[in-house]
């Protein structure tokens, strides 16, 4: 009774005297691996684009003050309960540049890039929220950190 088994096959496979790994790949294999790699890499931006924002909504006391398109750089000042909150918009992103609040949470949050991300400057009653294109397939209802 022979006892040739997977173990022996694997031992053979790991053994010396074999052709190097790369010789096991034929030209078509290389081409297919390359094409598959490109497709996989392309699938990331394609499927993970959901949640790209295209406008910033600035609210004071829950009421919309203005909507800023995210395609041009600009700054916008809102007067709130205790002073002026300065909003900065750049293509594709927005942030609270300065705020009179004592703890500066909304400023430290930095740039917001995804749809429904929100920065809340509570002391000044001002919020900055990003909004995406279509309402249907948005990635998040709200984003906070």
């Amino acid at each position: 009774m022979h006892t040739h088994s997977l173990r022996e096959l694997l031992a053979q496979a790991a053994g010396e005297g074999h052709a190097p790994w790369r010789t096991l790949l034929k030209p078509g294999d290389w081409a297919l691996l390359l094409a598959a790699g490109v497709l996989v890499a392309a699938s990331y931006p394609l499927l993970w684009r959901g949640g790209a924002a295209d406008r910033a909504i600035v609210k004071r006391d829950g009421e919309v003050v203005t909507e800023l398109a995210l395609n041009v750089a600009r700054k916008y000042a809102v007067t709130g309960a205790i002073g002026i909150t300065l909003i900065e918009v750049q293509p594709g992103r927005a942030r609270v540049l300065s705020d009179p609040g004592p703890r500066q949470y909304c400023v430290q949050q930095g740039w917001l890039t995804r749809a429904n991300a929100v920065a809340i400057c509570a002391p000044n009653h001002v919020t900055l929220q990003l909004a995406g294109r279509g309402g249907r397939n948005e990635a998040y209802d709200t984003l906070n950190y």
């Binding site: 040739h4 096959l9 790949l25 034929k26 078509g28 297919l32 691996l33 996989v40």
Partner: protein
């Protein structure tokens, strides 16, 4: 004790398929012990056996080994008829379908690595489609597709390389075992 009146004739083919299926089952059970970062992402080592069988004995044997692996493997792990079993079955059926086509690729240019990568993509495709239709009826499952595809590409390539290397072993060694069984039968 009465002698069984039912005689199931066992052919050399049956022994061969059983041997390979046993190897595939052992690999998938061993693999079930590995922690995975995301349900559904695993190396799929049993597919190495399926690729070797496909190259050596053709699609019919490969299909037997693959499906026996899914059924018996799930029995061993205790997953039989659980969602994971149907996901595995769906993946196995899809990858067998793709392998049926892939075996007709010109062998001058395409080796086991191509078959393995294509089968791995079919595997994950079958699983994610079933998950979308049945388990998670929401397009959110496709959100994981890039991760699954990356794993399929990586593990598919590695499994294909291992299969190619196993296939590079002279057939006499690999044939010895089934031949011995034939003698015993």
């Amino acid at each position: 004790m009465t002698r069984s009146t039912i005689e199931l004739p066992v052919t050399a083919d049956d022994y061969r398929i059983a041997r390979y299926a046993a190897a595939a089952i052992a690999l998938s059970v061993a693999e079930a012990a590995l922690p995975t970062p995301l349900p559904g992402i695993k190396p799929g080592l049993a597919n190495i056996i399926v690729l070797v069988v496909l190259a050596r004995y053709g699609w019919r044997d490969a299909a037997w080994v693959s499906l026996l692996r899914v059924v018996a493997g799930s029995l061993v792990i205790g997953q039989f008829l659980a969602p994971g079993f149907f996901l595995a079955l769906s993946g196995a059926v899809c990858s067998l379908a793709v392998l049926a086509l892939a075996q007709h690729l010109p062998p001058r240019f395409f080796g086991p690595v191509s078959a393995s990568v294509l089968a791995a993509f079919a595997h994950i495709g079958g699983q994610i489609l079933l998950a979308r239709v049945w388990l998670v009826p929401h397009d959110g499952v496709f959100y994981l597709l890039p991760l699954f595809a990356t794993a399929a590409l990586a593990f598919g390539a590695i499994n294909g390389l291992v299969a190619a290397r196993l296939l590079a072993i002279p057939v006499s060694i690999a044939e010895a075992a089934p031949a011995a069984m034939k003698g015993a039968a």
